[in-house]
């Protein structure tokens, strides 16, 4: 070994000009580093044409550098004899270097991976030796060259080994290792050369003819210098391009980073399972800094999952763990992208907390009534179905309560919806307090509530209903107002009154309706007959609507005469309905129904128009009296409607008499009296019907100047025999005459009643004694007949 080193040292120091050897080393180093710089440019070039040009330039530079290193070193060689270089071998050595370097590069690039790099490295290593020994074949000396085989083998091996090492270093992931690639190759070239030179010795032989065509060292110097300049130029260009590439890469990386930071989703870039990048959203989500996450395994932020597990293209549910160890529900999706020349996996992580809480809120809102916080109609329906199934399984019993507030509408109408809402909230709390453990209270909407309760029998259901009604009825103090409402309840028992949620609810509804009909503020248990009554009412309702459409309603007239003289003065219009199959239907039945159905305005207008048209055909001075319902009286259009009908029918206003009942005045807020005043100002007469049956009759009489009072027929029927009725009749007639109002006695049926009424001072009579109700034509005929008879 020592001997070998001595040989090498002797070769270098004794036989070479060291300054030129150093120059060769420098040229070689520049060449090899520029070769890799150009290689880098090739890798980053986006277009294949550019890659080809740069690839060719790289091959050229590498081959030229190997070649130039060799010949500069040869110029440094001082064997002590004149030397020359054969042209053919000199050129061939360059061509061979270029060809093998090109081949080696193609193998290394074309077959990515360690095997390709090794193969490419071997070929490139051989390129060095091939160049060197071809060049040496053209080394002309006056003598013969002798070769030491050990040195030759060492020379060739060192070139191959360092070339392979260089190729592996060039593709290393670590930057410092990558930087070594050029130096390793330089070492390979230099070692191949000088070990090769140590292998050779010149045996001077005067017999050997010195080749005349040999290239002189001076010529070679020029060639080599040019080659060195070419390498330098290519190296400079490659470095310049590299710098530009690097700058662009950095700008792009920065831009990408900005984009990633703008993204709402968390983004993480993985090289294998190692995290090499993340954006700000993910930092925030995790509550960790970038530095704390970089370099860690993917599974550390998404426990139980590897980056390779994350599906590409379709989102998957997962959970990430933040700095505090809290699991955050997320959806993740991966995308593989090439960063530089290696594949990376980018995982997008979307925080689901907000979406999940929104969904939970939506679910809550879908099931709860926002005003009272009680379950709403929907969850009530679900719960009822569930409990019925459960109750049926255990053959238990269950009661369903439908609760509706009484007098709630006036609260809303007069005090406003805010007050109504406050009342409903309090009611919900009170009802809740009245329930037992396990009972369910729901708000179905408006002022409708429902309760599902397990009961042993009707008695228990009734007791609970009592509690509910009592607690609802207690006064409410809200913002200094005292509100008094009540509750009506319909109860249906399972399974007796319905086996399905729908039928049970229907039964409870029917029972509720019955409770309201029975006067509100009470409960009713469902009975089968309720359904029948309800159906009958429905049928009547349908018939009434049809009757209006088909004109089955008629107006009949109850003639009126002047007391004493018996002269016809006019008639009261009476609404009659004769149903094709039911026969006559009493107004006491269908008028309240029409009021409830909102049909009374339409019917009332039709009656008024018919009566006015009929009366217009009667001889003067016959009058017609038409009843106004309280609902009509509250309508703001009433005055206009009456005036329009008078104009249409050309009936003189003084021949029309409008009758109102006391009840119409009870809820008066002043507008009713104003309406009556407007009608009276036009000359229409106003009378008070059914007088004596209302509440505080006298006060109304003093507040409005009625033209006429009509004594209710209930008093007439009992008079004169019933002392009480007789005294009431007397009081009314006295009052009428004192206030200057005419007094009509209704329902006069006997001669005794007629005499009594006339004696008591009634001014007008009507009733079966005078005539039963007749048609419009008959009224006119009766008047003419009576006039003729008296004439």
């Amino acid at each position: 070994m020592q001997g070998a080193l001595d040989t090498l040292a002797t070769c270098l120091v004794r036989e070479h000009d060291l300054r030129i050897v150093i120059l060769a080393g420098i040229v070689c180093a520049i060449g090899m580093h520029s070769a890799y710089a150009i290689g880098g440019v090739v890798a980053r070039s986006p277009q294949s044409r550019e890659r080809l040009v740069w690839g060719a330039a790289g091959t050229l530079a590498t081959a030229s550098a190997i070649w130039a290193t060799h010949f500069i070193a040869m110029l440094a060689h001082r064997p002590g004899v004149p030397v020359g270089f054969a042209l053919a071998e000199t050129v061939a050595s360059w061509l061979l270097a270029a060809a093998l370097v090109g081949l080696g590069s193609l193998i290394a690039i074309g077959k990515p991976g360690p095997a390709g790099r090794t193969a490419g490295g071997i070929v490139s290593g051989l390129a060095i030796s091939a160049m060197h020994y071809t060049g040496m074949a053209g080394y002309d000396v006056p003598g013969t060259l002798a070769w030491a085989p050990g040195w030759v083998v060492a020379s060739v091996l060192s070139g191959v080994v360092f070339s392979v090492a260089s190729a592996h270093a060039a593709w290393s992931k670590r930057r410092p290792v990558r930087a070594l690639a050029g130096s390793l190759l330089t070492l390979g070239v230099v070692l191949t050369h000088f070990l090769g030179m140590a292998a050779v010795s010149i045996a001077p032989d005067p017999l050997v003819q010195f080749s005349p065509g040999a290239v002189a060292p001076e010529v070679l110097l020029v060639l080599v210098t040019n080659a060195a300049f070419l390498i330098l130029a290519l190296a400079l260009v490659a470095v310049w391009v590299s710098v530009r590439f690097e700058r662009r890469r950095r700008a792009e990386a920065r831009r990408l980073r900005h984009f990633a930071d703008v993204a709402v989703e968390g983004l993480v870039v993985c090289d294998g399972e190692r995290i090499i990048g993340l954006n700000r959203s993910l930092e925030r989500m995790l509550g960790r800094s970038r530095e704390a996450v970089l370099g860690r395994a993917f599974a550390e932020i998404v426990p139980g999952m590897t980056a390779a597990d994350v599906p590409v293209g379709t989102e998957a549910d997962a959970a990430v763990e933040d700095a505090a160890g809290t699991r955050i529900p997320v959806r993740i999706v991966a995308q593989d992208i090439a960063l530089g020349d290696t594949a990376h996996r980018v995982v997008a992580i979307r925080d689901q907390r907000e979406r999940l809480s929104t969904e939970a809120e939506i679910r809550r809102l879908a099931h709860l009534d926002p005003l009272t916080g009680l379950p709403n109609r929907r969850s009530f329906g679900e719960e009822l179905a569930r409990r019925l199934a459960e109750t049926a399984r255990r053959s238990d019993r269950l009661a369903l309560f439908m609760l509706d507030l009484d007098r709630f509408k006036p609260v809303n109408d007069t005090l406003g919806h805010a007050m109504g809402d406050a009342l409903l909230r309090r009611l919900a709390r009170r009802l809740g307090a009245a329930l037992r453990e396990g009972d369910m209270l729901a708000r179905l909407g408006g002022d409708e509530f429902a309760v599902i309760a397990r009961v042993d029998g009707a008695a228990e259901a009734e007791a609970l209903a009592d509690r509910l009604i009592e607690v609802a009825r207690r006064p409410y103090l809200i913002d200094g107002h005292v509100l008094e409402v009540g509750a009506s309840i319909g109860i249906a028992l399972f399974p007796r009154d319905g086996r399905t949620p729908d039928t049970l609810a229907q039964s409870a509804d029917i029972a509720l309706y019955a409770a309201k009909e029975a006067g509100r503020g009470r409960w009713r248990l469902f009975e089968t007959e309720m359904t029948t009554r309800r159906q009958q009412r429905r049928a009547l309702e349908l018939d009434l609507r049809r009757a209006i459409a088909r004109g089955e309603l008629e107006v009949h007239y109850q003639p009126q005469i002047e007391a004493g003289t018996g002269a016809f003065t006019g008639a009261e219009a009476l609404l009659r309905w004769t149903h094709p199959t039911r026969g006559p239907v009493s107004p006491a039945v269908f008028v309240p129904l029409a009021e409830e159905l909102g049909l009374i305005g339409e019917i009332g207008e039709w009656v008024l128009r018919t009566a006015c048209r009929d009366a217009a055909s009667w001889p003067e001075p016959l009058t017609v009296a038409v009843n106004l319902s309280p609902i009509q009286l509250r309508s703001p259009d009433l005055v206009d409607m009456v005036f329009r009908i008078l104009d249409e029918t050309s009936l003189a206003p003084h021949r029309l008499e409008l009758e109102i009942t006391e009840t119409a005045l009870i809820e008066d807020d002043g507008s009713t009296l104003a309406t009556l005043g407007a009608l009276r100002a036009r000359g229409i007469r106003i009378s008070m019907d059914d007088f004596g049956t209302g509440y505080s009759s006298l006060s109304y009489l003093s507040r409005f100047p009625f033209d006429k009072i009509k004594i209710d027929q209930s008093f007439i029927r009992l008079a004169p025999d019933d002392a009480g009725s007789a005294s009431i009749v007397r009081a009314i007639t006295t009052l009428g005459s004192r206030l200057g109002m005419a007094v009509t006695a209704e329902g006069v049926e006997t001669e005794a009643q007629r005499r009594f009424m006339e004696a008591e001072g009634a001014t007008q009579l009507q009733g079966y004694l005078i005539s039963k109700p007749v048609s419009a034509a008959t009224v006119a005929a009766m008047f003419r007949e009576r006039s003729r008879a008296r004439a």
């Binding site: 509690r467 607690v471 207690r474 006064p475 103090l477």
Partner: protein
């Protein structure tokens, strides 16, 4: 602004535990009322309550709502409610007195009782004061 209300109710307490429960109720009411700035007096007679409470509107309404949600009371009826100039029971967080049957007829305890609002309050006051003097 001060408000006063007077209500009556029947109590639905079991006979044997009624007096103890009522004592507790009054004790608790006193503490709560003192905090809420409510004063008043309570008369117990023959299974009935007659209570006057006065104070600022908000706690007064809240207290009455609690009474109306409480099933130890039955047939709660509001006899009087409105703004007042001054407290009639100043200094009484809640004074209670029990009166005998002979007085019941004069108080509007059962429906249809005859006493007017002013008379009721005066009775309440005098009875409770008498009870305090005796106690």
């Amino acid at each position: 602004m001060l408000y006063r209300l007077v209500y009556r109710s029947r109590h639905a307490l079991a006979a044997e535990t009624a007096s103890r429960e009522l004592d507790e109720l009054v004790t608790r009411a006193r503490a709560a009322n003192a905090r809420a700035g409510i004063t008043g007096a309570l008369l117990l007679a023959d299974g009935h309550f007659l209570q006057a409470i006065e104070g600022p509107l908000e706690p007064l309404e809240a207290l009455f709502e609690r009474i109306c949600t409480d099933f130890r009371h039955r047939d709660v009826q509001l006899l009087e409610f409105g703004p007042v100039e001054e407290r009639l029971f100043a200094g009484w967080a809640m004074e209670a007195a029990e009166v005998g049957a002979e007085l019941v007829a004069r108080l509007p305890l059962a429906a249809g009782g005859a006493a007017s609002g002013a008379l009721t309050l005066e009775l309440l006051r005098s009875q409770v004061e008498a009870s305090r003097a005796a106690g």
